[in-house]
Symmetry: C2
Subunit: 201 residues, 2 copies
C-alpha cells in the first residue's frame, strides 16, 4: 500500500479490470453463459468475489463491461479500394469470428449472455454503435469514389450488410455459411448501387 | 375420469395445452421472462404444477411449445399484386407486432425467453422456417409476374427483408421505427430487382 504508484492512478484498478474481464470471457468459452457465475470468475481471475460484486454488481455487470471494453478497442476496418471487396471482408470477418471452432463460442455466448439483461442489452447497443460507426468508413470512401450515390446512408449500408448474419446467428438459428455471408454483401452492394440507401432524388 | 370422451382422444389434453400456453404468453406480457415460472403458469392456468413439469419439463419447454404452436398456426401473407407493396406490408406487420404498446411485449419477451435455452432456440428455428416458407409466396408470385428475375431465391428475399428489423429488435437494440421498416423493404426490393438473389446468369 505504501508503495502505490502515485503517478499511475488506476494502474492496479486497470489490471484488476483486465484480469476480471479476461476471466469472464474465458468462462463464456468454456461453460457457456449458464456456467458464468461471480464465483467462477473470482476463481479464474484471483480477484475476490466481494470485489466483483462491489465493482460490477454481478454477472450482468461483468458481461456489460466486457462489451464496453470491446466498444473502446480499435477494430480494423477493411480498405481494399472497392466497396464490394470491403463488404465481403466485413461479412467474412463476422462469419469467421462467430463460427470458428476454437474461438467462436466466446463471442457467441457473450452476446447470448448480454441479451439476458437490460444492462447487457444496453452495452450491446453501445458496442454495435461503435462498430457501425467504424465500418461506415468503407461506405463513405465508396461515395467519395463515386461507387454509390451521394447521400447514401453509410451506417445503414453496414446494418444491412451485417443484419442477415446476426439474424441467422441469434434469431433464426440457421447456419451462417460462406454462401450466406457472400449473399449478404452482394445484396447490400446491389441496393446501395441502386440508391436504396439514399433519399429519393 | 369415467366420463372421459372416448371418441375425442386428446380433447382434454388439447384444452389443457391451450390453457397452459395461453397462460405462458400472458405471463410473458405481464412479468417478462424473468417472472415466468412454472408456478406462475400453474396459478394462471389452473393446471397443476406437477402436470406442467411432467408434460413440458419446465419453463424452457413451455416457451418452446408456445413457439411450436405458433409455427403451426395460419399466418396471413399479403398479396397486393406488387412485390413492393407486399414487402412493405410484411415489414409493417413485423414492426406493429413487436412495437405495439399493448401487445408488443409478449412476442418480444417470448423470443428473448426462447434465446435462453437450446430447446427454445430450436423451436425458434422451426417457427422462422415456417414463416419464411409462407412469406416466400410473395416473391414466387413476383417472379411469375416478371417483377424479379427467374431463379430468385424467394426465402432469401424474405430473410433479407426481415433481418434488419430483428437485428434492431434483438441484437443492436436500436429502435424499430417506420423509416427503418420502410428502408428494409426497399433494400430487399432493389437487390431482388438487380438479381442479387439469383445465380449469376
Amino acid at each position: 500500500m505504501t508503495e502505490a504508484p502515485i503517478r499511475r492512478p488506476g494502474g492496479r484498478s486497470a489490471r484488476v479490470r483486465a484480469a476480471v474481464l479476461d476471466a469472464t470471457l474465458a468462462e463464456l468459452t468454456g461453460e457457456g453463459y449458464d456456467g458464468l457465475t461471480a464465483e467462477s470468475v473470482a476463481d479464474r481471475s484471483g480477484v475476490h468475489k466481494a470485489t466483483l460484486y462491489r465493482r460490477w454488481g454481478g454477472v450482468d455487470g461483468l458481461v456489460a463491461d466486457v462489451l464496453s471494453r470491446a466498444a473502446g478497442q480499435p477494430w480494423q476496418v477493411p480498405d481494399t479500394g472497392s466497396l464490394r471487396d470491403d463488404l465481403h471482408a466485413i461479412t467474412q470477418a463476422v462469419r469467421a469470428g462467430f463460427t470458428d471452432p476454437d474461438g467462436g463460442a466466446a463471442p457467441r455466448n457473450l452476446i447470448l449472455a448480454a441479451l439476458r439483461s437490460p444492462q447487457g442489452r444496453e452495452a450491446l447497443t453501445g458496442l454495435f454503435e461503435a462498430r457501425h460507426g467504424l465500418a461506415a468508413g468503407v461506405v463513405t470512401r465508396a461515395v467519395a469514389r463515386g461507387e454509390v450515390p451521394e447521400g447514401t446512408d453509410a451506417v445503414d449500408v453496414v446494418r444491412a450488410t451485417c443484419a442477415p448474419l446476426y439474424y441467422r446467428l441469434f434469431v433464426t438459428g440457421e447456419p451462417l455459411d460462406g454462401p450466406a455471408a457472400r449473399r449478404a454483401a452482394e445484396v447490400a452492394l446491389a441496393a446501395a448501387r441502386a440508391g436504396a440507401f439514399a433519399p429519393p432524388p
